[in-house]
C-alpha cells in the first residue's frame, strides 16, 4: 500500500492506492477503468475482465481533468498496465463531464449502485452514498440497476465536507471522529441545525458551555445521521442496506443510521487488508459499466 503522508491538517484523510493481491493480467485481457471525480475525493479503478485489479483514492484538486488523470495514473502505478492498454474508460461523479480521456460519462448514482452490487452482492437493494458535498439514497434491483433515488440539496450539511470542517474545528484526525463520537456515556440531543456554518457556531457554544469534544461530536453526528435516515425513509428502505462513500467508514455515523432505521447495514468487507474500500464504489461501478459497454461495442461490430 502506497501512502502519501500529509498530516498538516486534521481533516486530511489519507490518499492511497492498492493493487489486489494474487491477480495477474495479460495483453489479451479486457482492461477497463472507472474514474470518479467527486467534489472532495477522486477515485480510480482498473478492472481486468470485469474484476477489480487496482484502485486509488486521491483528493480532488481545482481542475477535474487533472484530478482524474492523477487518480488514474496512481491506480495504474506498479501494475505494468499502461493507459493505452485500457479498452474503455468511464468517468463519473461531479466532475464527469470534464474528464477528457474518458470514453463516456455516467452519473455517480448509476455507478454507486453497480459498485455496491459488486462489493456486497445481489442482496443489496438500498444504498446510502455520503459524498463530499451531497447525500444520495439509491434503490436498485438484484443486478445493481437503479430503480429510484433521492439526492439532498447541494449543501455541505451532513456530508463528508461537513465532517472535515468539524475535524478541523475540534482538532481531531478525521479517521478518529467516528470512534470518538461514540465515546460518551449518554447520547446528547442532536444539534438543531446541520448547516455547516451554523453548526460550527453552535458547536463552539457547546464547547464553551463545558461539553466534551466527544459529546459535541456525538450531537453533530447524530444530526447528520438523522438527515441521512430521513432520506432513506423517503426513498423507501428495502434491505439489505449498505453505505458507500467516505462516511461508510465512520462508525459513529453508521451505528446511528442503524439505530434510527432499526436495521443493520451489511458490514464493510475487510478493506484495510485485502478488500475494497466502499469509497471507491462509484469508480468501481464505472469500471464495470466500462467493461459491459466495451463488450457491447464488440458484439455490435461483429
Amino acid at each position: 500500500m502506497t501512502q502519501q503522508q500529509t498530516n498538516e491538517a486534521f481533516w486530511r484523510w489519507q490518499e492511497y492506492q492498492r493493487v489486489m493481491p494474487n491477480k495477474s493480467w495479460t495483453k489479451n485481457d479486457i482492461i477497463t477503468a472507472g474514474v470518479d471525480v467527486g467534489s472532495v475525493g477522486s477515485k480510480a479503478t482498473v478492472l481486468v475482465n470485469g474484476e477489480i485489479y487496482s484502485w486509488s483514492i486521491t483528493r480532488t484538486g481545482s481542475n477535474s481533468s487533472d484530478s482524474a488523470a492523477k487518480a488514474l495514473n496512481w491506480a495504474l502505478k506498479d501494475t505494468g498496465i499502461q493507459q493505452s492498454d485500457l479498452k474503455y474508460i468511464i468517468g463519473t461523479g461531479y466532475g464527469r463531464v470534464n474528464i477528457s480521456f474518458a470514453n463516456k460519462a455516467l452519473t455517480e448514482i448509476a455507478c454507486h449502485a453497480k459498485g455496491a452490487n459488486y462489493i456486497w452482492g445481489s442482496q443489496v437493494h438500498t444504498i446510502l452514498d455520503v459524498g463530499g458535498q451531497d447525500i444520495k439514497a439509491i434503490r436498485c434491483d438484484d443486478t445493481g440497476r437503479v430503480t429510484s433515488f433521492l439526492m439532498n440539496d447541494k449543501c455541505a450539511a451532513g456530508t463528508g465536507r461537513g465532517m472535515e470542517v468539524f475535524a478541523d474545528l475540534l482538532k481531531i484526525p478525521i479517521e478518529k471522529i467516528g470512534e470518538m463520537s461514540l465515546n460518551i456515556t449518554e447520547e446528547p440531543p442532536s444539534v438543531s441545525c446541520t448547516c455547516v456554518a451554523f453548526a460550527k457556531t453552535e458547536a463552539m457554544g457547546l464547547l464553551r458551555k463545558g461539553w466534551s469534544k466527544e459529546k459535541v461530536l456525538a450531537a453533530y453526528t447524530k444530526a447528520m445521521a438523522i438527515r441521512m435516515s430521513n432520506l432513506i425513509k423517503r426513498v423507501g428502505l428495502e434491505p439489505a442496506l449498505v453505505i458507500t462513500g467516505g462516511q461508510s467508514k465512520n462508525i459513529g455515523i453508521v451505528s446511528r443510521v442503524e439505530t434510527a432505521l432499526e436495521v443493520k447495514c451489511l458490514p464493510i468487507p475487510n478493506w484495510r487488508e485485502n478488500g475494497i474500500d466502499p469509497m471507491i464504489a462509484g469508480a468501481l461501478g464505472a469500471g464495470i459499466y466500462a467493461k459491459a459497454i466495451y463488450d457491447k461495442t464488440q458484439t455490435t461490430r461483429d
Binding site: Y94, T107, I109, A110, T143, V146, M151, D153
Partner: protein, 449 residues
C-alpha cells in the same frame, strides 16, 4: 369582486414596495434587460446550433421570443390607437371575454431569475419564486407586458397569488378573480359564473364596448381555432419525435403574449412542415430515446427554462414529448364547448371551460385532485411516456404537497416519477444535471447489462 369600484378609487395610493429611487430603478432595469436580451439571443441561437435540421417555421416563434421586440412595439401601437391591454397572472382569466371587449390579453408571470432576488426585498425567500420574480419585475418595470397593461386580472388561486395581487394593486388597477377550491358542486359553479359575469361588466366599463353575442361568438371561435392548432401540435408529439420539446414549449409559451389569430396561423404552418417531416421520416432523435413528460409548477420564459435543455441535451439524452404545465399544454388543451350561441350559453360554457377543465392543484374534490391524475394517466398512455419529472420551484406549496398523490397513482402503473426541486437561480444547474441524467439513465435501456 364587489369592492372593485372602491378599489379603483383608492388606486394608486397604497404602495407595499420599498422606496426605490428612480435612478436605481433605471440602472437595474438597464442591466437586467440587457442581460435578458443576451440570454434570449443565446438560447435561440443555441437551439439552432444543437439542431441544424430545426423546423424552418420555428423562425416566427424565435422572433416572438424576444419579449422586448416587435410584439412589444405592436402592443404600444394598439395602446396608441386606444385599445386596452389586459394583463393576467393565471390561466383562469377568460380570454374570450377580453377579446370580445376589443382588448388584448397578455400573461404577466415572470420567468426572470434576476428579478426574484429583488422580490426578496419585499417578501421572504420562502415565497414562490414566480411571485418573487414578478414582484421584482414590477419593482424595476422590466416586463413590457406588465407595464403596458391597463388593468390586471389577478386570480386568487393560492396564497402567493392573493398577496401578489395586493402588491401589484399599488401600481395597477386590479380585478380580483376568486376561484372556488372545489369544482364539482352547484354552488361553486354558481359562484364562479358570477365572478365571470363581474369580469365581463368590468371589461365593458373599461373599454366602453358592450360584449354581445355578435362580438363574443367570433372571440370564442378564435380561441377554439387556437385550441385546434394547439392540439394538432400535441398529436404530432404522440409518436416518433419530429420536434424537440424545447421548440414545442417555445411555441406554446409565446401564445401567452402573441396575437391569437396570428399565432394559430403560424402554429398550423409549423404543423404542416412537421407533417411533411413525418412523411419523410425525419425523426430528430433515435427511436429508443426515453420519452419524458414534465408536470408541476409553470416554467416561464426566458430564464426559468433550464429543465427542457437538461432533459434533451444531457448524457444520456431524453426527449420531452408532453407536459402538464399551465405555461404550456394546459393553456389551450380544452376548447370552450358551445351548444347554442346564446349569451347565457356562451357565458356558462366559458365559466365551465375555465373551472371544470382546470387541473391546477389549487383544487380538491372528494377523491383529491382526481382530474389532474386522470389527465396525467391519459397523457402517459397517449404519448407513450416512460418517465415523469415532477418539477417544483421553491415555495410552491400546492405542487409540492400534491406530489405524494401523483406518485402513488403513477407507481400503480409502474411509471417512474422523479421529484425535481429548484429555484429561480442558475447556481444549481450542475446538481440538477446529475439528477436529471441519473433519472434518464434509469429509463434508458441501453445501459442495461
Amino acid at each position: 369582486m364587489k369592492n372593485n369600484t372602491q378599489q379603483e378609487k383608492d388606486h394608486p395610493s397604497k404602495k407595499i414596495m420599498p422606496e426605490t429611487t428612480l435612478k436605481e430603478i433605471k440602472e437595474l432595469n438597464t442591466t437586467i434587460k440587457t442581460t435578458s436580451e443576451q440570454i434570449i439571443t443565446q438560447t435561440i441561437s443555441h437551439l439552432k446550433k444543437i439542431n441544424p435540421n430545426r423546423p424552418q417555421e420555428m423562425e416566427y416563434f424565435d422572433e416572438l421570443a424576444n419579449m422586448f421586440g416587435k410584439r412589444t412595439q405592436e402592443l404600444e401601437q394598439y395602446k396608441a390607437e386606444g385599445k386596452k391591454i389586459v394583463g393576467y397572472n393565471c390561466i383562469f382569466a377568460p380570454l374570450e371575454l377580453i377579446i370580445a371587449a376589443g382588448a388584448v390579453p397578455v400573461r404577466i408571470n415572470s420567468g426572470w431569475y434576476d428579478t426574484s432576488k429583488l422580490g426578496d426585498r419585499v417578501v421572504p425567500v420562502e415565497v414562490c419564486s414566480i411571485i418573487r420574480s414578478t414582484i421584482g419585475a414590477k419593482m424595476i418595470e422590466l416586463s413590457p407586458f406588465l407595464e403596458l397593461s391597463d388593468v390586471l386580472i389577478t386570480v386568487l388561486t393560492c396564497d402567493g397569488m392573493t398577496k401578489l395581487s395586493e402588491i401589484l394593486g399599488g401600481y395597477k388597477k386590479v380585478w380580483h378573480l376568486s376561484n372556488p377550491r372545489i369544482k364539482d358542486s352547484d354552488q361553486a359553479l354558481k359562484f364562479w359564473n358570477e365572478e365571470i359575469k363581474q369580469i365581463k361588466n368590468n371589461l365593458e366599463k373599461l373599454t366602453g364596448n358592450k360584449i354581445t353575442t355578435k362580438t363574443l361568438k367570433p372571440a370564442i371561435l378564435k380561441t377554439q381555432k387556437a385550441t385546434k392548432a394547439f392540439r394538432r401540435l400535441q398529436n404530432i408529439r404522440k409518436d416518433n419525435a419530429v420536434i424537440s420539446g424545447q421548440d414545442a414549449l417555445l411555441v406554446t409559451q409565446t401564445f401567452m403574449w402573441d396575437d391569437i389569430e396570428r399565432w394559430t396561423e403560424k402554429t398550423n404552418i409549423l404543423c404542416d412542415e412537421l407533417d411533411r417531416r413525418i412523411q419523410a421520416k425525419e425523426w430528430i432523435c433515435p427511436p429508443d430515446t426515453p420519452r419524458v413528460m414534465v408536470t408541476g409548477t409553470p416554467m416561464f420564459w426566458p430564464d426559468n427554462w433550464k429543465l427542457p435543455s437538461l432533459i434533451e441535451e444531457g448524457t444520456p439524452k431524453g426527449i420531452l414529448v408532453a407536459d402538464e404545465l399551465c405555461s404550456s399544454e394546459r393553456l389551450l388543451y380544452d376548447p370552450v364547448g358551445i351548444d347554442e350561441w346564446t349569451m347565457t350559453d356562451m357565458l356558462n360554457a366559458i365559466g365551465e371551460r375555465y373551472l371544470m377543465a382546470c387541473t391546477c392543484p389549487c383544487f380538491t374534490s372528494k377523491d383529491g385532485n382526481e382530474d389532474r391524475i386522470n389527465w396525467l394517466l391519459t397523457k402517459i398512455k397517449d404519448h407513450k411516456i416512460q418517465g415523469v419529472i415532477y418539477y417544483v420551484t421553491r415555495g410552491c406549496m400546492l405542487y409540492a404537497m400534491e406530489y405524494t398523490t401523483v406518485k402513488r397513482a403513477l407507481d400503480k402503473i409502474n411509471i417512474p416519477v422523479y421529484y425535481l426541486d429548484t429555484d429561480y437561480t442558475r447556481e444549481d444547474t450542475g446538481q440538477l444535471k446529475t439528477r436529471v441524467e441519473a433519472f434518464l439513465e434509469m429509463l434508458n435501456t441501453q445501459i442495461d447489462l
